[in-house]
């Protein structure tokens, strides 16, 4: 079952992959991906419901005209889903992992644990801007695939380690969880590498982190 959520002028697709009792596990996909049709094998052990969001320009969500993507807009996409669910544990892959961290800090009482996993778009555009270049799209792209503007712009957005760490600090100080953020990724771009030395981060394989998040309530 899928629901349509409104975020500004965009309609987002929130897919209910599995029902159940208790807190929802919200999947946030990687750059260029879309939500899976069923709960992936690595999350089937989650005891509660599982939902998945298609970010703007991906999957069944609106593909806007003329681009204008940046990570904080995807953060607001995820926040629209969070508002609908009231509370959730987040499992983000790649771009979705970065968004999950930001949302864990920005909405520390509604996000009950964020799990950061490998996937496309994990590094973004790096820790600081590169030499100025134009973000120009290619001439052709499949009409039903991810928006090429999204692929282009969201692989350029800058992710300074101290900026990422400031969201972790919000989650640590305000969520009441210990830890509020779990690193399950093996890739460590600078923003993520910087988190590993901060207090309030768990580093564990996904099954263990999922179990800990569920148990934390």
């Amino acid at each position: 079952m899928s629901e349509r959520l409104r975020h500004g002028k965009v309609e987002l697709a929130l897919h209910r992959l599995r029902g159940g009792e208790g807190r929802t596990l919200l999947l946030l996909h990687a750059l260029g991906e879309r939500s899976p049709l069923d709960p992936p094998v690595d999350v089937v052990a989650w005891p509660g419901p599982v939902a998945a969001l298609d970010f703007t320009g991906h999957g069944d969500s609106t593909r806007p005209l003329g681009g204008g993507y940046f990570a904080e807009l995807m953060l607001a996409d995820a926040d629209a889903a969070l508002a609908h669910l009231s509370q959730a544990t987040l499992l983000g892959r790649g771009l979705g992992a970065y968004v999950a961290l930001l949302l864990a800090g920005a909405r520390p009482l509604a996000v009950r644990g964020a799990l950061l996993c490998d996937g496309a778009g994990l590094a973004g555009g790096g820790p600081e801007p590169r030499d100025p270049t134009l973000a120009l799209p290619g001439s052709t792209a499949p009409a039903d695939g991810p928006d090429p503007m999204a692929l282009l712009e969201l692989s350029r957005d800058v992710r300074p380690p101290d900026y990422a760490a400031s969201f972790l600090a919000q989650a640590v100080a305000l969520s009441g969880l210990a830890p509020p953020v779990w690193i399950c990724a093996s890739e460590r771009p600078p923003w993520l590498a910087g988190l590993t030395t901060q207090p309030g981060v768990g580093v564990a394989p996904l099954p263990r982190a999922l179990a800990a998040c569920w148990a934390a309530g």
């Binding site: 975020h7 500004g8 002028k9 806007p64 005209l65 681009g67 204008g68 607001a76």
Partner: protein, 308 residues
């Protein structure tokens, strides 16, 4: 809601203001932009970019002065502003890309450019990305200034940061239902006076006549209501300032030093250390952020001298 009319049905004049000589549309990778030109169509082109919450017709006095100096002045309404399309998404990179589309539609050869406020920032990046497409650049009160560190104790920082982040997300939750408030032309002029407190009311009334639309329930400024003052994200002014040191074409910076709501806070002392060798810096101590509107003749003379 379809507007009753777009151009004014109220005839308003302002000394020195002149409507563009030509108007055209540019398709910027799917976004329809409205482009305006003043001056002889065969004259050398000059690109002119407006600031946030402004629109190209705010150059109705300044642009004709530049045209009189021998230029074909080309300005455009940025996405979400004036008569250009209101898009689903807005971002800095998108604005730079839109500016590139206007450049492409204007000239294959290098040309000078002027940008005010946010338009100065957008063109700064475009010039840096494509230096061989530009001959000279004038940044009118569009250089950022270093932000003072917030006066917050270390243990209170997460809460303070969280308030900023939550405020952004709360705005995004509301954004679907935002509509611009309708009013009479006079009410719109008075509303704009809060952003432009130093500009004459007669000028703001003129701007209503060229920058608002008449809907069935009243007049509205043609600016997308989803746009918000100030951004949210990791951007920091140092990134722009450090790059200014190696700006690739001759640069002139014009500042208006009287602080007001829309000011970016730059001063000669804050800008000078970052200017490349040979850059010109002119500060108007008796003017605010909209220095090209407050002192159009002085700024036009200064700019034309630099471009000559």
């Amino acid at each position: 809601m379809e507007p009753v009319s777009r151009a004014t049905d109220v005839a308003v004049a302002y000394p020195g203001a002149r409507e563009p000589d030509r108007t055209r549309r540019v398709d910027a990778f799917g976004v329809q932009l409205t482009v305006y030109e003043w001056g002889d169509a065969a004259a050398p082109p000059l690109l002119l970019a407006h600031g946030g919450f402004d629109f190209a017709r705010t150059f109705d006095v300044f642009a004709p002065l530049l045209a009189a100096g021998g230029h074909r002045v080309v300005a455009w309404d940025q996405r979400g502003h004036g008569r250009s399309a209101q898009t689903q998404l807005y971002s800095w990179d998108a604005d730079v890309r839109d500016a590139f589309a206007v450049l492409e539609s204007t000239s294959a050869g290098p040309l000078p450019a002027i940008g005010h406020s946010k338009g100065g920032g957008v063109l700064t990046q475009l010039v840096q990305a494509l230096p061989r497409r530009f001959t000279r650049f004038v940044n009118v009160d569009g250089v950022p200034s270093r932000r003072a560190a917030p006066d917050v104790a270390e243990h209170e920082r997460p809460q303070a940061l969280n308030e900023v982040a939550a405020e952004w997300l709360d705005h995004r939750r509301r954004v679907a239902s935002l509509v611009r408030k309708p009013g009479t032309p006079e009410e719109l002029a008075l509303r704009r006076q809060r952003m432009n407190p130093r500009l004459p009311l007669a000028w703001l009334r003129y701007l209503v006549s060229v920058g608002a639309q008449h809907d069935p329930d009243g007049w509205r400024w043609c600016v997308d209501p989803t746009l918000r003052m100030g951004g949210f994200g990791p951007w920091r002014p140092e990134w722009v300032l450090e790059r200014l040191r190696r700006f690739p074409v001759p640069l002139q910076v014009v500042l208006g030093l009287i602080p007001e709501a829309m000011s970016m806070g730059a001063t000669p002392d804050s800008v000078r250390p970052f200017l490349p060798p040979g850059a010109r810096l002119h500060a108007f101590e008796d003017s605010g952020h909209f220095v090209h509107i407050e002192k159009p003749h002085e700024v036009a003379k200064l700019v034309l001298g630099f471009l000559a």
